[in-house]
């Protein structure tokens, strides 16, 4: 977190730099089945984030010594396109993206019924085309509907949101400025209905009370985001399938 004290993240009107209230989300749009070859896919726009997800599998785990005879393993690969950030990012996995890949794999595997597919792997490719703070959570939220669209059994959808502290206030869904210059960042993802936490990270400086307040904001935001996930899934099958005349 930066220390640029000259940036005033919360205005005198109590609003944030981008005009949002403290617990207001940025606009979110999702769609499934956006790719042809993948077994399941999705696209999400969340604020300025643009992320594409492809799911392949379950397929035979490779190399063979990686096979688990009791279950499938889930391998998420979070990757940022070189052009996704202001300064060109060197292509390929760096330490940050490898850590994110690990926690995203674990969060998804906590929801997927992997025991039904021994010896296989489920690959989830998450490509950040444009990054605008909160990419891991946006990527995970999109991954979960891509996994569902692939027909892979899950206990529930995974849905997440970040909160944090900026300008001394607890705020929902950090913007890029708040992420860079705020005091703390707390991404959480849950199983949508039971609110069981499958991903949580935090860095910065918060008290227990502030974290508690942030978690309430996130939990109620996940209900809203879950509705967007639901609509993205349902609309593909209800809107229309009728180019054929009656």
């Amino acid at each position: 977190m930066g220390t640029a004290s000259d940036i005033k993240l919360i205005g005198d009107d109590g609003l944030r730099l981008d005009g949002r209230g403290l617990d207001e989300l940025r606009p979110i749009k999702m769609e499934i089945n956006v790719l042809n070859r993948a077994d399941g896919s999705s696209y999400i726009e969340w604020g300025g984030n643009k992320i594409m997800v492809a799911v392949y599998g379950p397929r035979e785990a490779y190399p063979k010594h990686n096979q688990d005879i009791n279950k499938a393993f889930v391998r998420a690969r979070y990757n940022m396109a070189a052009f996704s950030v202001d300064e060109r990012k060197r292509p390929g996995p760096d330490r940050r993206s490898q850590e994110i890949s690990k926690v995203l794999s674990e969060a998804l595997e906590s929801a997927i019924m992997t025991e039904l597919f021994p010896r296989t792997q489920i690959d989830v490719f998450i490509e950040v085309l444009q990054a605008d703070a909160g990419t891991r959570i946006a990527g995970l939220t999109a991954s979960s509907i891509a996994v569902a669209a692939a027909g892979i059994p899950m206990r529930d959808l995974v849905v997440g949101c970040t909160a944090g502290k900026a300008g001394g206030k607890v705020v929902l869904d950090l913007s890029k400025d708040e992420d860079n210059f705020g005091e703390a960042d707390l991404p959480i993802a849950v199983l949508a209905r039971s609110k069981k936490i499958v991903l949580m990270q935090m860095d910065g400086d918060m008290t227990l009370e502030e974290i508690d307040q942030a978690h309430s904001m996130i939990f109620s935001a996940t209900d809203r985001i879950y509705q967007i996930q639901r609509e993205a899934l349902e609309s593909k099958y209800t809107v229309d399938a009728s180019q054929w005349g009656e």
């Binding site: 977190m1 330490r95 940050r96 490898q98 850590e99 890949s101 690990k102 926690v103 674990e106 595997e109 906590s110 707390l186 849950v190 199983l191 609110k195 069981k196 936490i197 499958v198 991903l199 949580m200 990270q201 935090m202 860095d203 910065g204 400086d205 918060m206 008290t207 227990l208 974290i211 508690d212 978690h215 939990f219």
Partner: protein, 261 residues
């Protein structure tokens, strides 16, 4: 953490541990919410700028600090640089492999790094020699020598202990040597979930039968500086909330008893 034919516990042993936990007991006699007594030996490697060997049960890690002159990052010209690396040495466990770092060791290093960085352990602005050009770079390198669970806390403890004894080699730049200015003492406390029990500072066997893992790093003001949920499994909010309280309590205890803060 690794699970394979070398690591997998027999069903009998597993059931035994779970049954004992239900009675609130652990194999080594601890209660579910207590930490193994750490043994900290600082200045273990005098050639380093600072160092500390930490034993946590049979887990042993050695942190060494090197401090060298270098260039600051372009976006932080008025700050020194901090980097953290952990080597999970093949000698420490049968399934640890030599070669490029695994996701496990990258996560480990990054969680330790976040605790130290966000805990504002040292004021990086005091590590500038010439703004934008020359700053001190603090390298934290940690060797995992023997693995018996809870590497995150062992490594954080070793890194912080080593930093506190570190000397910045000013004489290499025609300045004076000076003690690395350490302001805050972050302590991480890691818990895993076994059944519906939260178990503090798990040993290897406990890690192997656990589901989710949660680490909470606090500073002496009781503030939370870093958190990380890891592994497959989940926590309820109440469990997270009590993990934070546990970390605050144990952090205070560890700081007073073993770090003499």
């Amino acid at each position: 953490m690794p699970r394979d034919e070398v690591g997998i516990l027999s069903e009998i042993k597993k059931n035994y541990i779970i049954r004992k936990l239900e009675e609130g007991k652990r194999g080594d006699g601890r209660s579910v919410d207590s930490f193994r007594e750490p043994i900290i030996q600082t200045n273990y490697v005098p050639r380093a700028a600072g160092s500390a060997m930490v034993s946590l049960g049979k887990t042993r890690v050695l942190a060494g600090i090197k401090i060298e002159l270098g260039e600051p990052f372009p976006d932080t010209p008025n700050q020194g640089v901090l980097t953290t690396n952990v080597e999970m040495l093949p000698m420490a466990f049968p399934t640890f492999e030599a070669g490029p770092p695994s996701e496990i060791s990258i996560e480990l290093a990054r969680v330790v790094d976040r605790g130290i960085r966000e805990g504002k352990t040292m004021d990086l602005q005091k590590l500038v020699v010439e703004p934008g050009k020359k700053v001190w770079i603090v390298f934290i390198d940690i060797d995992v020598l023997d693995y018996d669970g809870n590497l995150i806390d062992a490594c954080t403890l070793a890194a912080v202990s080593a930093l506190r004894t570190s000397v910045v080699p000013g004489s290499t730049a025609e300045l004076k040597d000076f003690a690395l200015p350490v302001d805050n003492i972050p302590v991480s406390v890691t818990m895993v979930k076994i059944g519906d029990k939260m178990v503090v500072d798990p040993n290897l066997e406990e890690e192997q039968i656990s589901s989710g893992r949660i680490t909470v790093t606090t500073t002496q003001d009781g503030h939370v500086r870093a958190m990380q949920k890891g592994n497959i499994g989940y926590f309820t909010w109440d469990e997270i909330s009590s993990a934070i309280t546990t970390s605050q309590r144990l952090g205070k205890e560890i700081r007073e008893k073993y770090l003499k803060v």
